[in-house]
Symmetry: C2
Subunit: 161 residues, 2 copies
């Protein structure tokens, strides 16, 4: 449903959000978020064209967020790289339908509209500050198990005699 490009672009902005305001090289980011370097460079270019990230060439160059995570919605990222397209006119080109969709295409478009609304109402900041202990892009730290000083059992654990 969501393209590889959408997945990679969301990983990229999530990573940049985590390290903000640092400028991260494409190579370093590609390694961190498990995306092929050339693919990531293209994704970042699209995100830069849409004003979501800033890029700097040369030594010490790389990418950084161009806006605050509060001002970047999930929808903005998706639309920058692989836009969700509403069904605005009859896909069959039936002229009498015009912009009035039939129930079939209206139903499909309603589902798209709901998804677009949901993504448009969710910012990168919300995603990155969700109270969920599992954080985007990161291994979840293992819980340190503190051994309890229980009294040593004596005798057979199951003495049925």
């Amino acid at each position: 449903m969501f393209s590889q490009t959408v997945e990679y672009s969301l990983r990229a902005v999530a990573h940049l959000s985590m390290v903000a305001p640092a400028i991260v090289s494409v190579r370093e980011m590609a390694s961190s978020i498990h995306v092929p370097e050339a693919y990531l460079a293209k994704v970042l270019q699209h995100l830069a064209d849409s004003g979501i990230v800033s890029t700097r060439r040369g030594k010490g160059g790389g990418a950084t967020l161009a806006k605050r995570p509060k001002d970047i919605t999930i929808l903005e990222v998706v639309q920058a790289v692989d836009p969700l397209q509403r069904i605005l006119t009859c896909p069959m080109g039936i002229s009498s339908h015009g912009s009035q969709l039939c129930p079939l295409h209206r139903h499909l478009d309603n589902a798209l509209a709901a998804m677009i609304e949901s993504f448009g109402n969710t910012t990168l900041h919300q995603i990155m500050n969700d109270p969920n202990p599992i954080k985007p892009l990161c291994e979840t730290p293992k819980v340190n198990l503190i051994p309890l000083n229980l009294p040593k059992p004596s005798g057979s654990p199951l003495n049925l005699s």
Copy 2:
């Protein structure tokens, strides 16, 4: 968002629903729903594999719905040809996440789940019997304007003198 294959498969079942229980040849259907014949044949094969349509080879052959439109959901059709796939495990393969998604992937998956639920709750029958005057696949009939026998106006329509 929705592939050409999804669009074509929905047109096919909508057409078969309209002409049910007739068996329609692939050529005839392809022409009616504006889908290339070879493409439609493949789509129908997928729909037949999923038990949504029945096909018959040879002269007088073609396709027909294998079930009542009340028993076919939009989701079933979509899943037969180009399945919507929920995000069930971390797409980055982060082992500590397991089946517990991070907020980023949880958000994407929630949007997918909502779409799947909506499609799963809508049958072909509902779509084809929607009260909307615009019907799937069809030109909307032009309204016949019946001339009213109004009395012939006399004199100037705006006699302000």
